[in-house]
Symmetry: C2
Subunit: 194 residues, 2 copies
Amino acid sequence: MSVRYALLGLLKQQPRYGYELRAAFIALAGGVEAWEVKPAQIYTTLNRMVESGLVEKQLNESDGSDEKVVFSLTPSGEAEFAGWLGQGILDDPQQDPFYLKLMLSLELPDVDAGRLIQTQRATLYQELHRITTVRTSLDPHTELARILLMDKAIMHLEADLRWLDMIEARLEDVKKQPAPHAELRPRGRPARTA
Amino acid sequence: MSVRYALLGLLKQQPRYGYELRAAFIALAGGVEAWEVKPAQIYTTLNRMVESGLVEKQLNESDGSDEKVVFSLTPSGEAEFAGWLGQGILDDPQQDPFYLKLMLSLELPDVDAGRLIQTQRATLYQELHRITTVRTSLDPHTELARILLMDKAIMHLEADLRWLDMIEARLEDVKKQPAPHAELRPRGRPARTA
DNA sequence: GGTGCCATGTAACGCGTTACATGATTAT
DNA sequence: ATAATCATGTAACGCGTTACATGGCACC
């Protein structure tokens, strides 16, 4: 979803051809490891935007021997970009695959929730270590932007680890107390008692 | 990506028909507001899994007058599910639309980065308030699972707000210091000095 | 007799992916 | 010479979405 708008922004800077746009996007988004974009996505996205009138295609201006296809922004595209920039963004941490796993493990008798949590914790720790290493290797003078990206990743990983601790503590609580009713089970589907 | 595996898990509990699976998934994932799934996605996903041999379709068992299409798990599907459960998960906070906006705003002369940050901060605050309200309205005895979901959202929103503070501080630093070179600009594309 | 939910789909599209294809230029 | 990178695509698929269509059943 964002690639589309980023391309509009890059075209607002200046008209460009596809391959150049791809390089510019990757540079903008923090490098190949952070946000890879395949050439196929660039060209299909650009052509879709040409069809909806956000972008124009100019075949082979100026130079004669060149096969480059130059794209430029239309007023409509500029408006679309401005609209995107003006909006705040929320991501959806509610759609959490790990939460799904956890809920399933509580319903399936042969799955150990504790082990699930341990595996997840190990994965997060490992990634935290990796990212921290990368972060400290960056030069604050020339790569400040990427440091910010890493910092965000670190803060989110730490939040996830704290969240796992919370989950474990809650599960312990439930285990100790007799529990007035079904406790960690999601509501709905009357627990097959009927 | 996760819906597919959650469906396998739900079918491991017991064979079910499509509409029932949808209800079970929504209950599992924390309710309609948290993770809506459209019927169309359920049926197409199930049929794809039938084609790849993870799931079997049984037409109209037991009852006579019923039009329900019952799906059940194959051994292959069970293995697929077990594989998914065993793996740790990382999400990609590197692919961050706000970061893209920020980088673009630093390159485009007519876009104010400070205002961008303020808009984003307001959006995050608003969502934090909304989620906190929802969270405190939940009953810890019967809806503990959803409370966990909300807690995660809150922790991430708080992390994002702290991150915005960091960004602003860095930008201030850059403004004050003469800066030995280009500072917050992503590398690549030699700043059009040539 | 509508309104709404149960239940099952199909069609078309957007985003993103992999795989494939072509041809030019540049580097070793 | 051959390998890498530049440059431009097409085809097919997976996931998810919206919109549309069909038919039953229940409630007011």
